[in-house]
């Protein structure tokens, strides 16, 4: 069902949980995330703000900062030589040989991720010489020029400061920087949110071209499901810290097995298809401090039944996808939709009357 042939397993995330420690207790921002990523695969991660997508990606690279802590789980990195490393118990020093050389990240805001008082070339040189200490200054700057040109930035820009470049160019420079050590995985956290659609398309075209040449895998995080559907091999949908559905992009688009996936898909007005009156998802995302006992989506779900309030659905295989919804279990498939006396839902009725 996948769009392309994919390689060996690169990353195996097992039951990864991340807590934010607060004065009121631990808040579980990522709860039991489990998935595998193959070499050369593009995995899209979609979800609303607060769903845990950025927390998940930083936790994979162990870049989370206090008060976030990895509470449980494994992140297994499969090296090309066959060794398997769990990143979770590693110290920063032990991770240094893996980060950037094998697993790289493009941070959310190009404005903040580049050092404003250093020329672009020097920022590349820092990275290159840290990972290849024998590289001379001249070689490093030449490599930086190559890397910039690779993303379509003129070579002489190596002497520019970040503020001298447009937002789109800065974002491309950041992608080049992530690729500086020829990594096997690049995590991209909302890399195109700050640029407009035309630049977004230029950047994505270039990323795909580079990906085809260099063969790295991508975990692409964004709230823009339409873009992910165009881009990803597989898609993971997150809600309230959990992966609620994961599977081939086309499958999730055409035949979603979780009501949230369906609702999210239907939240984007079509560009060309005939217009119909659409509605968003009633209510708001739950407070992570105070999650419902059963399914977190139940209070907003159009097909929730009585059991949803108490039974927590597990991520189970449903045909080509994995989904966490009781409706996919035969014993619940035909259960009647529960009456909801939900203030939020009633409130939304008002808008649509």
């Amino acid at each position: 069902m996948s769009r392309r042939e994919l390689g060996e397993v690169l990353l195996e995330v097992n039951d990864l949980s991340v807590d934010y420690l607060t004065l009121k207790g631990a808040v579980r921002a990522v709860d039991g995330a489990t998935f595998t990523l193959r070499r050369g695969e593009i995995l899209g991660v979609a979800g609303e703000s607060g769903s845990g997508k950025s927390t998940l990606t930083t936790a994979i690279l162990r870049l989370q900062r206090p008060p976030a802590v990895t509470a449980a789980g494994q992140v297994l990195y499969h090296d090309q030589d066959g060794t398997v490393t769990d990143l979770v118990p590693r110290t920063d020093a032990q991770l240094r040989s893996i980060r950037w050389d094998k697993l790289a990240i493009v941070m959310q805001s190009a404005m903040d991720a580049l050092n404003p008082v250093k020329r672009l070339g020097d920022q590349f040189r820092d990275v290159l010489q840290l990972h290849q200490p024998k590289m001379s200054n001249r070689e490093a700057i030449e490599r930086a020029q190559d890397l910039l040109a690779m993303s379509g930035i003129p070579r002489d820009r190596v002497n520019s400061y970040p503020h001298e470049m447009s937002g789109g160019m800065r974002q491309r420079a950041l992608i080049s920087l992530a690729l500086a050590c020829d990594p096997e995985l690049v995590i991209m956290d909302e890399p195109t949110t700050a640029v407009d659609v035309v630049m977004q398309r230029t950047i994505m075209g270039q990323v795909l071209r580079l990906q085809r040449k260099l063969g790295f895998a991508i975990i692409f995080v964004t709230h823009d499901l339409s873009l992910l559907l165009e881009l990803s091999d597989r898609l993971a949908i997150m809600y309230a810290g959990k992966i609620v559905e994961i599977g081939p992009a086309a499958q999730l688009y055409r035949d979603p097995k979780h009501p949230y996936t369906q609702a999210l898909r239907d939240s984007f007005p079509p560009l060309y298809a005939p217009l119909v009156k659409m509605s968003g998802i009633p209510g708001t995302a739950p407070d992570l401090m105070n999650l419902p006992d059963g399914c977190s989506f139940a209070p907003r779900c159009p097909v929730a039944m009585t059991a949803c309030a108490s039974v927590r659905p597990a991520l189970i295989e449903v045909g080509p996808v994995d989904a966490a919804c009781l409706r996919n279990q035969p014993e619940y498939a035909d259960a009647p939709v529960a009456d909801r006396v939900d203030a939020e839902a009633l409130e939304m009725e008002g808008v649509l009357r």
Binding site: M150, D196, R209, L271
Partner: protein
Amino acid sequence: MSQTTTDQPVVLEARNVTKHFEVRSKEGVRVVRAVEGVDLQLHRGEIVAMVGESGSGKTTVARMLSLYYPVTEGEILLHGKPVTKVSGGAAKDYYAQVQLLFQDPFASLNSLKSIRHILSRAVRIHSPRLGREAVEEKVLALLDKVALTPASQYIDKFPHELSGGQRQRIVIARALAVEPSVMLGDEPISMLDVSIRLDVLNLLTHLRDEEGVALLYITHDIASARYIADRINVMYAGEMVEGGPSESVIHTPQHPYTRLLLDSSPNPDRGIDSDQGSLFDEVGDLGEPPSLIEPPAGCRFNPRCPFAMQICTTDKPERTEVTPGHWARCHLHTVGGAEQLLQPSIQFGIPVEHVEAQLDQALPFESSTPDTLGDRADGAETQTVVAESESTSQFGGPQP
């Protein structure tokens, strides 16, 4: 969704509005030509969208319409009467008619004040003689209008107790407090979560239909513009390049920039089953908008336009009405050749072969995977891509 609104009276109008900002720098005073000769009409009960990329001047137009910036040239007319240099009472009368909706509901509400205070203050400023009970009644009615019901439950809350969508409803309620005839919405949904954006859009259309409010909807998201607006105007580098009924602009764009914007917008229908590489194969470097300090002569889009002719670099294109109500500023409509704008595939910017060649030359690493899709830089392969693109129209390219 669209209705004939152009027979309704014009509420707010901008005529040939221009804004130049002066910036001081080492080289002396320079002029940023942020907005150049924009015409805009808002009819009663109509939603007009203004679409464009960041820096295209959308927000500057809204700020001129809300009298936040004085215009450099041109005039603004409210109910047909020119508005110039207002202050004091006259300004208040203007604000009672024209209200701004802000982008960020987390920044635009005072977090120390209750909803009651926030809304009643707007009511009191514009109707100072209203008694305490009348104000309270009005505030409850406002909450009702924006579907925050039961209103009594929301009136004593503070902004931090509300979700983003609910806060934006308060922002809308506050704008409605003065019973305005026009609302200027500057990206009113871009800070909201995707799942609640549609509800806010539906609320805005509801207010258009029920209250007859005219709305200028400023956005960079052309799909949402199509969803709520009766007409769409497209801005590029400070100029309005195209305008017309929403469906007409979306399906038969008459300016190359509009076409570029449409082609660049994510659209899962385009080819969910095809290899993602093929969706981006024809995408080279699509270029960036020009500097507004020294914008290109002639048509400002000419450096990026695949159809650019000699005349485009010298003469500013005139506004040409293509079909009733649908106009564009493009020389293709006067010189001929406008039908090219609707062909299934248009190559914008730096062609993919150049980008590919540059990439191959720059690549500092060994290509680690065999290129299973064939060498794209190969001329023969590119030919097939062009030939195949004839069939891409089924994925939703503009259809004549």
